[in-house]
Amino acid sequence: MNFDLTQEQEMIKKTIREFADEVVAPGAIERDRTKEFPIEIFRQLADMGMMGLPFEEKYGGAGADTTSFAIVTEELSRACASTGITYSAHISLGGAPLNLFGTEEQKEKYLVPIATGESFGAFGLTEPNAGSDAGGTQTRAVEDGDDWVINGSKVYITNASYAKHLALTAITDMKDGKKEISAIIVPTDAEGFTIIDNYEKMGLNASNTTELVLENVRVPKENLLGKRGEGFRQFLVTLDGGRIGIAAMAVGIAQAAFNRALQYSKERKQFGKSLSEFQVTQFKLADMAMKIELARNMVYKAAWLKDQGRPFTKEASMAKLYASEIATDIANQAIQIHGGYGYMKEYEVERYLRDTKLLEIGEGTSEVQRMVIARQIGV
């Protein structure tokens, strides 16, 4: 057993923490208001080589491990969760499936621009009628000569407006009344491909969430990602990794909420005492600190298992479920500790609650996580 981070992980943490505090945090309130995508921050992250963090050097990556990915995602999310989700989706939904299932040529063509930060990464799974039940996919890809012709729509797709291409799932055949679902790489500038960016969201306002409409979009057959009919299995594997990212985001937001609550409780005086002198506040803060510690340990464990090449489905689900639920709770309590001030945007904590709620929904709702865990423990 060893709970120490490696020297690299330690250095990555220090670097990204400084970057988050100096570059990411200052504009977070403003971006939440204006919904401006943090493109300049990502230019800098690209310069720092962060955009290809876990991918091999030959594809423009840095070859760092999943724990490092979790550290970077946590720190960015602590400063600005919109920046955090953009990063997490870029790596774990955009880059990872190409890395896992792409051919050498596909990696050269599609993973390299993602790893270098030239394109953002995105992944299109969810549809109006296919959320938790991804089997409900209705988007179709029909063979026509050397091409696939794709029709359908996707909803709530992160980063698509800033992606040059993305993988999406579609029905490629029907066999005995059963859908054959495959993943196909589609360039976002393909004819008939429209990306609509006009959702009004509760939070994560500076992140890019889009609707995709595909009308007779043609891509060459070689754009099939992985094996035909394996789309379902592939996205399950992809989401396992993505959940570590969501969990790390939750830890980051929870940490931010805790930090603010702790500081505020020492400054604010009522009844002649600072709030931190009331036992009820102390207990709240103690609970927060405990939950964050537990959540982070679980994230690191899931990440470590993944890096060891061991099964990590259950642990990633547990980490995601636990971290996202405690983050909502902690953000909520942080507002409570701030009283009326916490209800004001200036104090940041209200944004944490609006931002973190998504983490109980995206990449599998809390209910879906419980289903995954139940299956894993053999019920």
């Binding site: 020297q7 690299e8 250095m11």
Partner: protein
């Protein structure tokens, strides 16, 4: 160009610092590269990228300073040297550090040596100039701009808010002031490669230095934290009354005039 950077591991003065038994508690403290030394590292990397050559970062102190050296390597330095005095020396002062560093540097044929203008812990600002003096090379402190053309060097140095332009030549030692550059964040590939870059560890023996010859000349009598800031006081009343009250407070209470 053969470039050396002298760096120091210091505690982060922006984090909480605790003193007990006349010593700063290292347990809870955060350690960083002295911020002024970061400017020196950045400048060294830029000079190398423009003129070619090699950047070696050197520190003197304890084993733990390896972390700061690795960070400098991650930023882009090529080699690192740790002069580990943990077992040999109890106390270090400017004399000790400058003597050892100069001894190390004397046969290295450095073209350019960069150091921080001052370390945020000790705050003496002496190590750089003392090293230059011992090596018998030119020295310019608190620089905010550096241009090298062959062996001619043009420097702008900060003079308490004013600036002075100086022409000098290599070999040269300069100390970096805020404003010289914007130190880069270590890149991720840089971090991943830092471990593979050479880091040499030396002890006084390796430099043929006798401990007695470099023994600290400064004795630390006491270490204490500055007094807690008291709440400010706002003077009221007529402007002229305020002025005379302020003058009398400065004389009688604060005893500064």
């Amino acid at each position: 160009m053969n470039i050396y950077v002298l760096i120091k591991r210091t505690f982060d003065t922006e984090e909480k610092i605790a003193v007990s038994n006349g010593k700063i508690q290292e347990d809870g403290a955060e350690f960083i590269i002295n911020p002024y030394d970061e400017y020196a590292i950045e400048e060294a990397i830029q000079v190398r990228d423009e003129h070619g050559g090699e950047v070696t970062v050197v520190t003197m102190g304890e084993e733990e300073a390896e972390k700061q050296l690795r960070t400098a390597l991650a930023m882009g330095a090529d080699k690192a040297v740790l002069i580990n005095t943990e077992d040999d020396l109890e106390e270090l002062d400017q004399f000790t550090v400058a003597s050892v560093l100069a001894e190390y540097l004397k046969d290295k044929e450095a073209d350019l040596i960069l150091a921080g203008n001052v370390a945020i812990d000790g705050g003496s600002g002496q190590v750089g100039p003392r090293v230059a003096e011992r090596l018998g090379i030119n020295c310019v402190t608190t620089i905010t701009d550096l241009k090298i053309d062959g062996s001619d060097v043009t420097i702008v140095r900060d003079m308490e808010g004013d600036s002075e332009t100086i022409k000098t030549s290599l070999p040269l030692l300069v100390t970096a002031q805020q404003g010289l550059n914007e130190p880069r964040y270590p890149s991720l590939p840089g971090i991943m490669k830092a471990k593979k870059k050479p880091l040499e560890e030396l002890e006084l023996d390796d430099l043929d230095i006798e401990e007695d010859d470099v023994e600290a000349k400064v004795e630390t009598v006491e270490v204490y934290l500055p007094p807690k800031k008291e709440a400010g006081r706002i003077l009221e009343g007529d402007l002229s009354d305020q002025v005379s009250e302020l003058a009398s407070l400065l004389r009688n209470e604060a005893k500064v005039i």
